[in-house]
Structures are given as structure tokens and as C-alpha cells.
Subunit: 285 residues, 2 copies
């Protein structure tokens, strides 16, 4: 293999990846990361260059990208969601594989919707729709205020109340639903007391049965999670964990609470499941 | 205009939008929503159909999509991130505008990376990389435990400590950075006391000057936000708000704390700015 004096050619190195946008770059990252999960390269060297909204900034960004290409002896891959035409024109001419979300789809959408696109920058993750944005913030405040049974008043506002024993993933999934989807999600911990088989639902939950969604996790995994928090405690013992999980499962069954096993699921997968099973997605009109 | 008896043609109605995926559909939603912000249609009727990972489920999904098309008298638009070939084959044959992320880009990526893609489902928002996933969860636990000055121990682990007067947006931006980027983000409220011009930084922050990032918001907006929480209170008065914001700004200047005006910025834009200015993005190797 010939090694050029200017390029330290390393044949096994994958090309550097850049996410470039005139906005936050979050769409470009999401798009690009999704595609890259389809290649088992291990880890790509990824960088995000946000707010590239002028030709001058685009030239600067391109210099960075091309330098990384020379350094690695590969042709960099650029995932772009740049709307600004001046910036796009510059970026497109670089010595890179330029994968542009707008080039790929905007033409077809313009035809389908019979109108030109606005080419306005920063609408995807900006405050394009002030009402929708405000309600997401309110959902997030709600989720934080109603985390882990903190405030049980205000459950009439909840769209879903996630229930589970401690450390099954209630908090992250509730906050994710609030932040990503603007859902008013409360969560409430199931303790030993609440779940004795002779008693009913915890009193705070009783009026809101229809809003409940349960989580469960394999005892061994819950034991490990709890042990990393309070090593060697009764709380983390397999006996305690199994008892709580068994009681939770009986409670779900007795009160027909839909539930999911979170052992092998990500926050996003759990949130999606809950949204689907509780009909919290945009209704099909 | 001829109205077919089977299609209630409503010429001004935009086509229904569907996000279809064999995973969570979050990438398809992000991609599609970004593109749709380029059209000032007002509100599209949007639905997400996740976990479409077999030909049978795809046929069911397609029936739903095509029914919505007939109902509206338009051709539905489907944003797809379906990797499963069986499902994709079915979906592609529907009477829809089929915009497929993988069709558009995967071929070019396979060429650039000189290898075939794995066509494995659910890797984008599943637990594809267990270590990366675990560190995101830890970041989120950290952000929640270190919200609003709750725990000031453990600041040595923080990658950034967001400071601002109450209700300037510290909490959502910290949690967003943790969830989206796996950043260890604490936040600490600036109160009147801390910020008197004769005193230094709050004691808890003093050792961590380099980690601070300030937020600021226009006094009028902060007044409105606070008033909606505690109507007519001194806390929400323009005098109090202006005094706190003035003191915060002096503190930022005196201690060279980088800061952003969050008045017209979304959580995502603020998070991106902070990541950029504090060098928390993936380093450019």
C-alpha cells in the first residue's frame, strides 16, 4: 500500500463522521447515528458542528472536516441537515461524502404537498411552535414534580402513572415521555406495604386505575442495580427483590394493570410501548 | 371538482403523515418532523406506528395508512426507518409516498465503508451499546440528584454546572443534556444572598469555576414565568426579577462565567450551545 507523505494512510480506520447543521445538529445526529448502527464498525469518530448558518462558517467547518479526512487518510462522511442555501453550497463542494437530508427528501415533499419549502433555519429544534414547546416544558415540570410519588395531588392531570418497585426504571421513562412527547407522566413507587396481597391498590392510585402502567425487571438484574447503590443491604438482597417483584406482578394481574418487562429494553423502547399501549400517541384521526 | 363516492375529497387538507418503523419510530419522527417544519401547513395529522417488524404487521399498518388516505382523499406520506426487509417490501408497495431513510442513504454508506449493512432491527434506540446506554442512565440519575443545588457533593464528577436565578431554565436543560448526550450536568440556583456584589461565588461553586455556565432571560419573560407559579408574589415582581438578573449578570462577568440568553431559545438550542462552548461534544480527535 502506497503511503502518501501528506496522508498517514491507515487502511482499517473508518472515515471520520461529521454531523453538520445550521440548527442544533440533533436531527443530523439522530439520522446519522441510526444509519451507522447498521455497520458493526465499533466506534466511529463522530463530531457535531452546529449553527453553521453562513457561507463563512461553512468554509470553516469544511476546513475542519477536510483536515480530519487528510489526517485519517479517508474521505469524511458528512450528515447534513443544513437548510441555509449558502452554507449548503459550500459544504456540498468539499472532498467528503455529503449525505443531505434535505436534498434527499425535500423535492419529493414539495411535489406531494404542492408547495415550495420555506428554507427557514432552525425550525426542527427551535421554538417553531410556541404552544407545543410550552406544553413540553409544562410536561417536564409535571414529571419532575410527580416523580417517585413526591406529589400525589394533581394525578387528575396525569396521562399515565408509571408504577413499579424501586429501581425498575420509572423515573427515566417518565421524564423521557415528558421531554420527547410532552406527555404528563407521573410515577409512584410500589413498596412492600402497598402490595401485601390482602390490600388493594395504594390509596393515592385507587381513583386513577385506568392511568396505571407497571414496570417489572428480572430479579437478578434488579438485585445488581440495587446492590450498586446500597451494597450488601437488605434492600438489595435477592429475597427482598424477589418478594417486591412478585407482589408487583400480582398487583398488576389483580387490577389489570398493563405492564412491561424492562430488563432488556431501553428507555426509548419502554416509552414507545407505554405510549402505544396507553394510546398516548397522536390519535389516528 | 369531481367528488368520488369513496373519497371525501377535501382539496385543502394536507395528506396524513405516518412514521413507521420496526423499532421505536423515534428516528422516523425526528427525520419527518424536521422536514415538515419546512412547510407552513399548520398542523399535519401525524401518527406513529412502531414495532412493525414482520410482513403481517406491515400489511396491518399499511391498511391503516391507506384507510387514512381514502378518508382524507389524499395520498398519505410515510416516513420509514424500517430495516426489516419483509416489512419494507410490503410497505413500499402501498398507495403512499414512501420516504425511506435506509433506501436513501444505506447504499452510499455501504460503498463508502466498503461493507454491507447488518439490516438488524431496533439498534438506533435500543440497547445496542450497553456501556453507552448505562452511562446515559447514570448521567440522568446524576442530573436528577444534583438538580437545583440539591446535592453539592459530587460536583467533582460534574462536566458542567448550570447556574442561574430561579426559573431561567436550568433544570430542563441539565436533564436534556444528560438524557440526550450522557453529560453529567448539575445545576445550582443563584439567590439574592449569593450574588451580593461584595461576596464571591457561592462556596459550593468556588472550587469548580471552570465548570460553570450561566443562564439569563429577559426580565419581563422571567416575571411572567414566575407570576404563573406564584401570582402577585414578591418573587414574581419586576423589581425582584430585575435585581436577581442584574446580580447574576455581574457575577457572570466578574468570574468570567460563559452564559447564554435563554429568552428565545429552546432547550435543545441551549443544550447545544452549552455543549459547544464547554467543549462537551465528541472531541475532534
Amino acid at each position: 500500500m502506497i503511503i502518501d507523505e501528506h496522508t498517514m494512510q491507515q487502511p482499517d480506520q473508518p472515515p471520520p463522521i461529521f454531523f453538520v447543521s445550521d440548527g442544533t445538529g440533533i436531527t443530523a445526529e439522530t439520522l446519522g447515528s441510526s444509519l451507522l448502527t447498521q455497520f458493526d464498525e465499533g466506534h466511529f469518530a463522530e463530531s457535531t458542528l452546529p449553527f453553521i448558518n453562513t457561507a463563512a462558517k461553512a468554509r470553516e467547518a469544511l476546513a475542519t472536516v477536510e483536515a480530519a479526512g487528510r489526517e485519517s487518510g479517508t474521505r469524511p462522511i458528512v450528515f447534513s441537515t443544513t437548510v441555509n442555501d449558502d452554507a449548503r453550497t459550500v459544504l456540498r463542494e468539499g472532498n467528503v461524502l455529503f449525505l443531505d437530508l434535505f436534498d434527499a427528501f425535500l423535492g419529493q415533499l414539495e411535489t406531494a404537498l404542492s408547495k415550495p419549502s420555506s428554507h427557514r433555519v432552525g425550525r426542527a429544534h427551535g421554538i417553531a411552535d410556541a404552544d407545543a414547546y410550552q406544553s413540553r416544558i409544562e410536561a417536564m415540570n409535571y414529571a419532575l414534580a410527580h416523580d417517585d410519588g413526591l406529589a400525589t395531588r394533581g394525578y387528575e392531570q396525569a396521562q399515565v402513572i408509571v408504577v413499579a418497585p424501586s429501581r425498575c426504571g420509572k423515573t427515566p421513562v417518565s421524564i423521557y415521555m415528558a421531554m420527547q412527547f410532552g406527555v404528563f407522566a407521573a410515577n409512584y413507587p410500589l413498596t412492600d406495604d402497598d402490595e401485601t396481597d390482602t390490600r388493594g391498590l395504594p390509596q393515592a392510585l385507587e381513583p386513577y386505575r385506568d392511568k396505571l402502567y407497571g414496570l417489572w425487571v428480572e430479579p437478578h438484574q434488579l438485585r445488581v442495580i440495587r446492590d450498586s447503590r446500597r451494597r450488601g443491604s437488605r434492600y438489595a438482597s435477592i429475597d427482598q427483590v424477589s418478594a417486591e417483584l412478585g407482589a408487583a406482578q400480582r398487583l398488576y394481574n389483580r387490577f389489570s394493570v398493563p405492564w412491561a418487562d424492562s430488563t432488556h429494553k431501553s428507555i426509548e423502547e419502554l416509552a414507545t410501548l407505554i405510549m402505544q399501549q396507553k394510546n398516548l400517541r397522536h390519535a389516528i384521526f
